[in-house]
Amino acid sequence: MSTELIAHPLLGLALELHPQVALRPEPFGALAYHYGNRRLVFLQHADMVRVSQALAQHPTLAAALAACEVDEQRWPSFAKAFQSLLESEVVVERSQP
């Protein structure tokens, strides 16, 4: 039961890709390049790409994951990945959810 898992705090946040980020599709997923801070990130799974692109359309990360039909068991991995993207500013918190 997922209530036994400690929910990652990021799951409840409204997020979006930073406006200066370009996503370039690749066979393994996508390259994300931030033109502002020059950081370059590999999104290593097609699901990670889909969720990244869906972020702005959903009230929370959890909602985006659910809408993209990502199995709940994988959510901790995704949350950790988005935490990393938040730290590199590839993804940012939305001011208006």
Partner: protein
């Protein structure tokens, strides 16, 4: 480990470069003794402004994120700003590498007003004596003046790029201090025996002891120091240096030269590593995706003589440019192999008189003739 998987992905090549080097011109106001492109005189076959913009259009369509512009001295081109602005407007970030001669106060202000632009000023010594011995009289002052102008114009952080030689290894701390004093970022890169470096490499390349110094210094102080990932041949000395530690040539990066030739990287301007020309049918895109050279570079490379060495995993056999221009086989040790494999291989080569004359020379030489040219050997 995870990074191995990423590196393996990159070694098979991407559908488009992540970034690339574009030498805009072979013309240059300097005559650095180690110039990787043997620059000096403009080549009359240079790409026109229109042709250059067509290349930028293709790079935009490929979603190349960033280009590293160099030369020669790129600011010598009359359309320099036009091309840089066109690139940025097309969504392609620009870093350009310059000796700073043309960055006066007015240009510095113009550059400061531009976005998505990085500048890298070349400097090979912390004082005029050390620097000018390699880059020519007045070049130190030229570079410092450019840095001062950029600072005065509030350009923000620029990069100071140093080619590490036998004569400046002892100055690494001072280089760092100089960069810090400007709020700039230090970049140190490996000297390759390329271009005019073919002839000066023997005297300029770091000694074995100095290679250890470079490695130790990077491990201790290299946190904010860029290296262009050019020191992975030193990885057998201990834990790997930060970076991908792989050769990106023809796989994730490449060179476009002033006349539109596409090479695997700026250090191998030679027919052996020429993939095609942007003027060919299909342009840059076709060369990147389908050229025989790049296709073969994206296949697994043979470790050859290094296969039984425990360090190969760490050093990847070093740099193909370093091997090629010192006459060594590509599937064998780097000439600066830290285990000593390179020295042994070079000694063997030196002992075979015929082999020495077969050492590759750069494809072209745009060096300006000197006032008193040495008589041609007949």
């Amino acid at each position: 480990m995870s990074a191995d998987k990423l590196v393996a992905q990159l070694k098979t090549g991407l559908d488009a470069p992540i970034c690339l080097t574009w030498e805009l011109t072979y013309a240059c106001n300097l005559q650095c003794v180690h110039c990787l492109s043997s620059s000096g005189q403009r080549d009359e076959r240079e790409l026109s402004t229109a042709e250059a913009k067509q290349v930028l259009d293709q790079l935009r369509d490929l979603q190349v994120f960033y280009i590293n512009i160099g030369g020669g001295e790129p600011m010598v081109r009359r359309d320099f700003f036009e091309l840089v602005e066109y690139s940025v407007a097309s969504g392609i970030g620009v870093k350009f590498s310059t000796n700073g001669a043309f960055i006066d106060a007015e240009k510095a202000r113009r550059l400061a007003a531009m976005d998505y632009l990085d500048i890298q000023i070349s400097l090979d010594g912390v004082d005029a004596v050390t620097n000018d011995a390699v880059r020519g009289a007045g070049s130190y002052d030229m570079a410092r003046r450019a840095m001062d102008n950029l600072a005065a114009a509030n350009f923000g952080p620029f990069k100071i790029s140093v080619v590490v030689t036998r004569h400046n290894v002892s100055q690494l701390d001072e280089f760092k201090a100089l960069a810090d004093s400007y709020g700039a970022q230090l970049r140190i890169t490996r000297l390759r025996p390329s271009g005019r470096g073919v002839d000066s490499w023997g005297d300029l390349h770091p000694t074995n002891a100095q290679q250890r110094e470079i490695y130790d210094w990077l491990m201790a102080h290299g946190e904010n120091v860029l290296t262009g990932d050019s020191f992975f041949h030193l990885n057998a000395l201990g834990p790997a240096l930060p970076g991908l530690n792989m050769c990106g040539a023809g796989r994730v990066v490449c060179l476009i030269d002033p006349i539109g030739d596409v090479y695997a990287c700026p250090f191998v301007i030679h027919d052996e590593f020429r993939a095609g020309n942007v003027r060919d049918d299909g342009g840059f895109s076709k060369v990147w995706k389908q050229s025989d050279l790049f296709t073969s570079l994206r296949e697994p490379q043979s470790a050859g003589a290094c296969a039984s060495c425990g360090a190969f995993d760490a050093c990847q056999g070093g740099c193909m440019a370093a091997k090629f221009f010192t006459g060594l086989p590509l599937d064998g040790p780097d000439p600066e192999c830290v285990i000593g494999g390179g020295e042994a291989a070079l000694a063997e080569l030196a002992a075979a008189p015929v082999a020495v004359s077969l050492k590759p020379r750069p494809a072209m030489d745009h060096t300006k003739p000197t006032r008193h040219p040495t008589p041609a050997l007949t």
